[in-house]
């Protein structure tokens, strides 16, 4: 039995094609994945991300807890409302999940974790929280809507009570504020400006319909994936999982190891650094014709050096792009490699990514 978000009926009414995603009945597309993609890059679109799990942490030692459980350092976050992107690691340095932490009050932080990892995340958090007397509370009473695109904030603002508009406009990137029953964060997963809004389940359908009325189009999970890939953002389960460390997943920048802070997975990461990080995650643009997909093999001079972790068609570049994990010294930026696509080897170039940012091609 798949679960439904509070917006399920809205999706059906708006003509969405529904698929099973991590146990949830979610809209994959409403009209055309490519049109929806362009809508977000050029105007504004909304995504139902209520399947993601909101977890509230309360306790006097919640900072100590986060400092120990997360690979990024919560000490970087000193201003209320500020967010931090981090990986949560196991003892082997493998990524249990990637998530966002919001600093709300000194003894109250909020996490947003992936849907597919909900059960193991909660179990892990509970297990580690006991020693810090931190309360881990899943907020299944909350829904979440992402509004993304160059006109997203302007349009969404029309739904914010007038007395709060200024505080929403004042948000810097990766910052959140509470306005009435809404929790509004300037974050997203598309490479565009926009907001992620957490709100009570019962308010979500009306809010969704009101967004539609002000010209924010509904966008399915299909376009969400091509948007995040163009933006060069990792997808958990594709580009990293428990068998890979952040160091081989282009997430080294999210791991704070400069000081002596003790955190779960640190010893394993130090060991990996000392031994030499064996692989790296690189961006690819296909030079020949075709479409790269996850798990296709990458070759250099006839030798297999790794595989695609994500791949697809970029509507902005009108070409296939992907991320691949390859042996560290096998190829570098600008090099041409070969991708095995249905028994043929097609040339691809290693490029710096993001591929697209704020509507502009970077390649």
């Amino acid at each position: 039995m798949t679960q439904q978000t509070p917006l399920y009926q809205c999706h059906v009414d708006m003509g969405a094609k529904i698929v099973d995603f991590a146990g949830w009945s979610m809209p994959i597309q409403y009209t055309s994945q490519i049109e929806e993609h362009h809508q977000v890059r050029s105007d504004a679109g909304m995504f139902d991300v209520s399947h993601m799990t909101v977890v509230d942490l309360h306790g006097e030692r919640v900072r100590d807890f986060l400092s120990y459980v997360m690979a990024n350092d919560i000490a970087k976050v000193t201003k209320r409302g500020k967010a931090l992107y981090t990986a949560m690691l196991n003892e082997q340095g493998g990524v249990i999940d990637d998530l966002i932490i919001y600093y709300l009050e000194d003894h109250f932080f909020r996490l947003v974790v992936n849907a597919a990892t909900r059960d193991k995340d909660l179990a892990w958090l509970e297990q580690q929280a006991a020693a810090f007397s931190v309360e881990v509370k899943e907020r299944s009473d909350l829904a979440m809507i992402a509004v993304q695109g160059p006109k997203a904030i302007e349009k969404a603002l029309q739904l914010i009570p007038e007395e709060f508009r200024e505080s929403v406009l004042a948000l810097s990137k990766f910052e959140a504020c509470e306005v009435a029953e809404l929790f509004v964060a300037r974050t997203g997963y598309t490479g565009e400006d926009g907001l992620e809004i957490i709100l009570p389940n019962e308010s979500a359908p009306d809010f969704w319909k009101a967004l539609d009325k002000v010209g924010v189009a509904p966008i399915g999970l299909g376009a969400r994936d091509s948007l995040r890939l163009e933006a060069g953002m990792n997808l958990y389960g594709n580009d990293m999982d428990e068998s890979t460390t952040p160091l081989v997943s282009a997430l080294g920048w999210t791991v704070a190891m400069k000081d002596e802070r003790d955190f779960i997975g640190r010893a394993a990461l130090e060991q990996q650094k000392q031994a030499g990080v064996p692989q790296k995650l690189v961006g690819l643009v296909l030079e020949g014709r075709g479409v790269m997909r996850a798990h296709q093999k990458v070759f250099v001079d006839g030798d297999e050096v790794g595989e695609l972790t994500s791949g697809g068609f970029s509507p902005t570049l009108k070409n296939s792009i992907g991320l691949a994990r390859i042996a560290r010294d096998s190829a570098s930026l600008g090099d041409t490699v070969e991708i095995e696509i249905r028994n043929k080897r097609i040339a691809a170039r290693i490029v710096k990514y993001p591929f697209v940012r704020d509507g502009q091609a970077q390649i």
Binding site: S32, I34, R289, F313, R342
Partner: protein
């Protein structure tokens, strides 16, 4: 409800076939097939001059979601590929029975057409799948 012209023959693997002239037939994919594939972004050219058996892969259609083999509904020689698809693969979504045709085949044995479905038969198959 997808569009199903009654003058065409259909394969269970979701291709349609239509007589063009003499023993040359045009092949494409059905409205139902393009709908389930989603936006088509690349079509691998069929090899002109190749002899294929009914059921052999003759082209590959890549959509935003996945790659799908396109099978020859009958045996014969591939005599043309729709080169417009190189620049406009979306024609398969927009006009699956018309500008979105994929290849032409010179049929080896016209009696093979009898093994294909008519529009009603194809619709019945789709209904049974739901």
């Amino acid at each position: 409800m997808s569009n199903l012209p009654t003058e065409l023959k259909y394969a269970k693997s979701h291709e349609w076939i239509r007589q063009e002239e003499g023993d040359v037939y045009v092949v494409g994919i059905t409205d139902h097939a393009q709908e389930s594939l989603g936006d088509v972004v690349f079509v691998e050219p069929s090899e002109e001059g190749a002899d294929v058996e009914a059921g052999d892969a003759a082209s590959v259609v890549e959509s935003v979601k996945a790659a799908s083999d396109i099978y020859a509904p009958v045996s014969g020689e591939i005599v043309a590929f729709n080169e417009n698809l190189e620049d406009s693969p979306e024609a398969i979504n927009d006009e699956p029975y018309d500008g979105g045709w994929i290849f032409k085949i010179r049929i080896a044995d016209a009696s093979e057409l009898e093994a294909l479905l008519d529009a009603d038969g194809y619709q019945a198959m789709l209904d049974a799948e739901e």
